[in-house]
C-alpha cells in the first residue's frame, strides 16, 4: 500500500500548492484588501434592481394587457406610475454615474446598506 500513500502525499502536495497559489502569485501585492462594495455602489445596485423591476413590471403589464388579463382601465391606471418609477430609477442611476459620491434616493426601495 506504499504506492497508495505516495499517491496521497503527491495529491496533498498539489492541493497545498493550489491553496497557496494566491500567495505564490502575488508575494507582495499592492493591496491585499478584499473587494467591498462602496456605499455608492450599493446604492447603484439598489437602483439597478429597482430599474429592472420597474421595466419587468412594465413588460408584464403590456403582455397581460395584450392577452386580455388586464383591462384597458387597469392598464391606464398602472402604466403611468410604472413608467415614472422606471424613469426615476434611470435618472438616479445616470446621476449616480455623473456624481458617484452623491447620495441618490429616488427609489421607494431602501438601500441595502
Amino acid at each position: 500500500m506504499e504506492w497508495g500513500l505516495a499517491l496521497a502525499a503527491a495529491i496533498a502536495v498539489v492541493a497545498v500548492v493550489f491553496v497557496a497559489r494566491p500567495f505564490l502569485r502575488e508575494p507582495a501585492p499592492a493591496s491585499d484588501r478584499l473587494d467591498e462594495l462602496a456605499p455608492e455602489e450599493r446604492q447603484r445596485l439598489s437602483l439597478a434592481e429597482e430599474r429592472d423591476r420597474a421595466l419587468d413590471a412594465l413588460k408584464e403589464l403590456e403582455f397581460d394587457h395584450r392577452t386580455g388579463k388586464v383591462s384597458d382601465d387597469d392598464y391606464r391606471a398602472q402604466v403611468g406610475p410604472l413608467r415614472r418609477r422606471a424613469a426615476d430609477a434611470l435618472r438616479a442611476l445616470e446621476a449616480g454615474e455623473q456624481t458617484p459620491r452623491e447620495h441618490v434616493t429616488v427609489s421607494d426601495e431602501p438601500a441595502s446598506t
Binding site: 495529491i11 491585499d32 473587494d35 429592472d52 388579463k69 387597469d74
Partner: protein, 654 residues
C-alpha cells in the same frame, strides 16, 4: 487501497477545515489573498473527496471484503450494478456521497461566482461549515475504509434494494438534499457579508430549481420503487423517511414562488431567508431521520448509531441560521407592500402559506411519536388519516390556486378583468364537475374536487398558452422569452397529472383479497381472476415461486405472475408484485400473493385495481421537461444581470 481512501478523506477534511477557519478570518479581516486561498481549498476538497469515492467504488467492483463496508453490504452473488449501488446502501457510503456531492456543488457554485468576492468571502466558510461535519464523520466516526480479515463471502444486500430504481432513487434524493445547501450557503453568506440585495438569489436561482427537481424526481423514483417492489400496492405511505424528503421539497416549492415576488416587487426578503434556511435544515433533518432509527420506517435498513451526531449538527445549523436572520433583520426589512389581496403576488403568498402549513403539519406528524416517546414514555404513531386530512385541507386549495394564479395580473386585478379571464376555465370546471357527479364520482368528495379543480387548472394553463401565443407571435417565441413562467406552467400541468393519478388510484381504487386453490376464481371490479398454476423460480441469489393468474373482463384478457423470492435466512424474502398496465383506464391491475399451503398450492391473492395511476409517472416526465424549460439559460437575461452586477459598470439600457 484503504489507506489511500483514508488519506484522501483526511486531506478533504483538512481542506474544508481550512476553508472554514481561514475563510472566516479572511472575510472578517478583509484579506483578499487569504479569502482566495480558502476558496481554492474548498475547490480542492472536491477532487480529494472524489478520489476517496473512487477508492470505494473500486473496492465494491472488486468485491474486496477486506473493506468491512464492502463485506457488510455486498456478496459474490450480487449482480455488479447492485454491488456498485451499495455505495449509498449503507451509512458510511451515503455520508461519502453527501460529501462528494456537497464539495462538487460548492466548487462549481463558488467558481461560477468567483467575481463576486464580497459575497463569496462569506459563502465559502458556510460551505466549509457544512462540509466539515461530513468530513469529520467520515474521518473519525464512520469511515467506509475500515479494514478487516476478508470473510469468505459478504452479507449481501437487502432484497428490496435489489431493484433498478434503487440505482437512481438515492442519488437523486441526495442531489436534491445536498443541492439545497447551495442556496443556504449563499443566503447565509449574503447575511454575513451584508449583501442582502438580489445577488445571492441570482447566483442560486438555477441551483435551487435543480435541487428541487432532483428531490422531486428522487421521490417519484422512490414511489415507483415502493409500488413495484414492496408489494403493498401503494406508492406513498406517509412513512417518516418519505416525509423527510417531501417536507424540504414543499418548502423549496414555496421558496421558488416567493423568490419571484422578491425579484419582481422587492418584497419578502425575510420570508425568503426563512424558507431557504428551513428547506436546508429539513434536508439535514431528513438525513437524521433516515440514519438515526428514532422512528420505525420502511427504510429501517438504513438505520445506524450516528443519529446523535446528525442531531447535534442540525441543532447547530438551526441556531446559526435563526441567529443570523435575526441579527440581519434591519437589512432585510423593505417598505414595499402588497397592493391588493387580488393579485398574482397575493396568490403566491397564499400558496406559500399553504405549502409551509402542509410541510409543518407533516413535520408535527413525524415528530409527535418521537416527542411522545421521549417526554411521556408513551409509544404513539401518526397514521394515514392524519396526513390525508391535511393533504386534503391544504393540498386541494393549493391545486385550485395553481389555476387561479396564472389568470390574475401582477399588482392588482379588477373584478371585470377577473370575470373575463375566469369565464372559460370556470365554465369548464363546472361542466366537468357536473358530468363527474352524474357518473357517480361523488362517492369521494376529495376525488371529485381533485378532478374538478384539475380541469380548471388545465383549462387555465391551456388558455395562458393560447393567449400568450397570439400575443407573442408563436409558441416557441412565447416560451423562449419567458422560460421560467412557461416552464412553470408545464410543471403545473405535471402536478395536475399527479393530482388526477393520486385521486384516481386512491379515492376510486378497488381492493380484494382471497384464498385461492388452483383452478379457483375471484371477482374484482368487473374482472374475473383465475388461479391457473404455480411454479418455482431461481435467480443468482434467490429461489422463489410464481403463480399464473389469468384475468378477463371489460373486453380484455391478460395474465399476471405474482410471487415471492427467498434470499436465504440472513437476508430474508420479498414480495414480487405483478402489474398489468391497462391502456384503457391508464390504470394498473396490481397483484401480489403469498403461499398459504405448499402441499395444496393454496395462495393468498391480493388484487388492486387502480384507475389512472400511470398519470403519476407520465406527470413525472412532464415535470422534468417543465423544470428543464424553466432552468434553460437565457442569454439576454444573463447579459442584463452581468451588466447589473459588474462593479462600476454602466447600467443596462432599456
Amino acid at each position: 487501497m484503504a489507506p489511500l481512501g483514508r488519506a484522501a478523506l483526511l486531506l478533504a477534511f483538512g481542506l474544508v477545515a481550512y476553508a472554514l477557519v481561514a475563510g472566516s478570518y479572511a472575510a472578517w479581516k478583509k484579506r483578499r489573498r487569504l479569502a482566495l486561498s480558502a476558496q481554492n481549498a474548498l475547490i480542492a476538497a472536491f477532487p480529494a473527496t472524489l478520489l476517496a469515492s473512487a477508492v470505494l467504488v473500486i473496492a465494491l467492483a472488486r468485491r474486496d471484503f477486506t473493506f468491512a463496508y464492502v463485506a457488510q453490504h455486498t456478496s459474490h452473488n450480487l449482480p455488479l450494478p447492485y454491488t456498485l449501488s451499495a455505495f449509498w446502501g449503507g451509512q458510511e457510503g451515503s455520508l461519502l456521497l453527501w460529501l462528494v456531492i456537497l464539495t462538487g456543488y460548492a466548487s462549481l457554485a463558488v467558481w461560477l461566482n468567483r467575481r463576486s468576492r464580497e459575497l463569496m468571502a462569506w459563502t465559502v466558510p458556510v460551505f466549509g461549515l457544512i462540509a466539515i461535519f461530513f468530513g469529520f464523520m467520515l474521518c473519525f466516526v464512520s469511515s467506509p475504509f475500515h479494514q478487516q480479515p476478508a470473510p469468505a463471502d459478504g452479507a449481501g444486500m437487502v432484497p428490496s434494494l435489489q431493484n433498478p430504481y434503487m440505482l437512481a432513487h438515492p442519488p437523486m434524493l441526495y442531489l436534491g438534499y445536498v443541492g439545497l445547501a447551495v442556496p443556504f450557503a449563499f443566503a447565509m453568506g449574503a447575511l454575513l457579508s451584508g449583501r442582502t440585495d438580489e445577488r445571492w438569489i441570482v447566483a442560486t436561482r438555477r441551483w435551487t430549481l435543480a435541487a428541487w427537481t432532483f428531490l422531486g424526481v428522487g421521490q417519484l423514483l422512490g414511489s415507483h420503487w415502493a409500488y413495484t417492489e414492496i408489494g403493498w400496492g401503494g406508492y406513498y405511505a406517509w412513512d417518516p423517511v418519505e416525509n423527510a424528503a417531501f417536507m424540504p421539497w414543499l418548502v423549496a416549492t414555496a421558496f421558488l414562488h416567493s423568490v419571484m415576488i422578491q425579484e419582481k416587487r422587492g418584497m419578502l426578503k425575510i420570508w425568503n431567508m426563512i424558507l431557504v434556511a428551513l428547506a436546508f435544515n429539513l434536508s439535514i433533518f431528513g438525513t437524521f431521520l433516515t440514519r438515526s432509527g428514532v422512528i420505525n420506517s420502511v427504510h429501517s435498513f438504513s438505520q445506524s448509531p450516528i443519529g446523535a451526531w446528525i442531531l447535534g449538527f442540525l441543532i447547530l445549523m438551526v441556531v446559526f441560521s435563526v441567529a443570523l436572520i435575526y441579527l440581519r433583520l434591519p437589512l432585510l426589512r423593505t417598505k414595499t407592500k402588497l397592493e391588493s389581496l387580488v393579485s398574482r403576488e397575493a396568490t403566491f403568498l397564499y400558496n406559500n402559506l399553504l405549502l409551509v402549513a402542509l410541510a409543518l403539519t407533516i413535520l408535527w406528524g413525524v415528530l409527535y411519536p418521537v416527542l411522545s416517546d421521549a417526554l411521556r414514555g408513551q409509544t404513539r404513531s401518526v397514521s394515514k388519516p392524519y396526513y390525508d386530512f391535511f393533504l386534503h385541507t391544504f393540498g386541494i386549495p393549493l391545486l385550485l390556486l395553481m389555476g387561479i394564479g396564472p389568470l390574475v395580473a401582477w399588482r392588482k386585478a379588477s373584478l371585470r378583468s377577473l370575470g373575463k379571464t375566469f369565464l372559460i376555465p370556470f365554465s369548464i370546471a363546472v361542466v366537468t364537475g357536473g358530468i363527474l357527479v352524474g357518473l357517480g364520482f361523488d362517492s369521494s368528495w376529495a376525488g371529485l374536487l381533485s378532478y374538478t379543480f384539475s380541469a380548471f387548472v388545465l383549462a387555465s394553463i391551456v388558455l395562458e398558452f393560447v393567449r400568450g401565443r397570439s400575443a407573442a407571435g408563436g409558441i416557441l417565441k412565447l416560451v423562449s422569452r419567458n422560460r421560467r413562467r412557461y416552464g412553470g406552467y408545464i410543471v403545473h400541468a405535471a402536478v395536475v397529472l399527479f393530482a388526477i393519478g393520486v385521486a384516481g388510484s386512491s379515492a376510486y381504487q378497488t381492493i380484494s383479497e382471497r384464498h385461492l386453490l388452483p383452478g379457483q376464481s375471484m371477482e374484482v371490479a368487473g374482472y374475473t381472476v383465475t388461479y391457473e398454476s404455480i411454479g418455482g423460480v431461481k435467480g443468482a441469489d434467490y429461489t422463489g415461486f410464481r403463480t399464473l393468474l389469468s384475468v378477463t373482463g371489460h373486453g380484455e384478457h391478460f395474465t399476471t405472475e405474482p410471487g415471492m423470492n427467498n434470499y436465504g435466512p440472513v437476508v430474508g424474502s420479498s414480495n414480487e408484485a405483478s402489474i398489468y398496465h391497462d391502456p384503457r383506464t391508464l390504470g394498473d391491475f396490481f397483484t401480489t400473493d403469498s403461499l398459504d399451503n405448499a402441499k395444496t398450492g393454496r395462495v393468498d391473492v391480493t388484487v388492486l385495481v387502480k384507475p389512472l395511476l400511470n398519470l403519476i409517472w407520465v406527470g413525472g416526465l412532464l415535470f422534468v421537461f417543465g423544470a428543464l424549460v424553466a432552468m434553460w439559460p437565457d442569454a439576454v437575461e444573463q447579459r442584463r444581470l452581468a451588466a447589473r452586477y459588474a462593479a462600476g459598470a454602466a447600467p443596462a439600457g432599456i
